[in-house]
Amino acid sequence: MASQSYELELFPNCKVTLALFDGVENCQDLKRCIMEGKVDAALLNVSMIIEPFQVLVSANKAFHVQQHGKMKTRNINSEILFNLSPTNNISESFKRFGVSNEDKSLLAVVLNDSNGEKLQRLTEQVEGTRIDMNQLKDFTDEAKIKKVYKIQDTELTNSTLLDAVICRMATKDAS
């Protein structure tokens, strides 16, 4: 499937659409456009993503904090990037989980795109090809994920990498 849409049980009117792009030539431009507020999507570094569930957990929390006026970043798209991070350092989360200038692929997260217009507009902005979401796992860099999330092999004897990541995302603001 070229893109996948999800509904969140806790936010039934909110829709999350994921789309995978490869052969992207203009990540540097896209980054600039994001800063200028011209991109209504979160553009993620695919290598840090294991499965869509990871992104949905982040989006769920983003909707929750937005609803309660407790976002830590400027808008809900940047909040999705922030929620993926195991730490509370905002700029670090953008650096690690957002696209870098040299990236050739990206995972786009578009919110509340009921008629597909936002994704259409984004597809025009991205100089690359949209590919099937099933290919997501081909981009996942497990070694890098373990390093960034600081996951040791001890933990993985009784847990999946995904669960280890999700748990850290969910509990990072327990203090």
Binding site: V57, T154, E155, S159, C167, A174, S175
Partner: protein, 238 residues
């Protein structure tokens, strides 16, 4: 209306959070799905008899302690449910529902019944798993606070490789004190021996494994002896 202002529901009823499956003194536990995954929602309700500011602070602290303990245990290789989402506004923890599992409590009872022995090999091996788990947990300074055989799960089908899953960290804390660890073990001992008749040997195996696997075990076990000396109908002499 419940005394805390929540909509009245009884166990088995479904409301917007999910299906209520347990009501405790501090929290209600619901069953639902989260992104299609079977999920438990643990909701700590307001205590109206407390000053609201204090209540909010305490409840928040309990919630954060619980999830911190879960993560800390996970990091050291202990099996726990995965936390999916913490709602600090309504004090709800959304976590993995370990389906197709049996409590260690039920498992012990069924093994004793099936084998007609008090110390079947399966329970000795289970005791070793528990002892190892507790040693790891305490070496990481996590105090569970409510160790019982109902708070330990085994995924089915149960075999020699099934890990013990530790749940319900609602009363947990972080402490390096041998006293706290000793009390933690004592709570399990009392719960164990009162729930499961004729299991003194099995429990002993837990402690033997604990002693072997934990780096600070001798001090903790010494404290356990001291704690046993305290309590009802016990002489405080000597």
């Amino acid at each position: 209306m419940e005394p805390d202002g929540a909509p009245t529901s009884s166990v088995g009823q479904t409301c917007d959070v999910g299906k209520l499956i347990k009501q405790g003194a501090e929290a209600r536990v619901y069953s639902t799905t989260f992104m299609g995954r079977p999920t438990i929602v643990k909701e700590r309700f307001k205590k109206k008899y407390r000053h609201p500011t204090l209540d909010k602070k305490l409840t928040h602290r309990r919630t954060t302690r619980e999830v911190t303990a879960i993560l800390r245990c996970r990091k050291s290789g202990i099996c726990t449910p995965t936390v999916y989402f913490v709602d600090y506004e309504s004090h709800r923890i959304y976590m993995e529902n370990i389906e197709n599992s049996t409590t260690v409590r039920d498992y012990i009872a069924s093994e004793q019944k099936e084998t007609q022995e008090t110390n079947p090999e399966t329970l000795v091996s289970l005791a070793q798993k528990i002892g190892t788990l507790l040693a790891t947990m305490h070496d990481n300074d996590v105090i569970h606070g409510d160790l019982t055989t109902s708070n330990m799960l085994l995924r089915q089908p149960v075999d020699s490789s099934s890990p013990v899953v530790l749940i319900d960290f609602g009363l947990s804390s972080v402490s390096g004190l041998h006293e706290d660890k000793g009390v933690d073990l004592y709570v399990l001992e009392r719960a164990f021996l009162s729930t499961h008749p004729n299991t003194e040997n099995i429990f002993e195996h837990i402690l033997v494994t604990y002693r072997k696997k934990s780096k600070k075990s001798s001090d903790v076990l010494k404290k356990l002896d001291e704690v046993r000396m305290r309590g009802r109908k016990r002489s405080m002499i000597g």
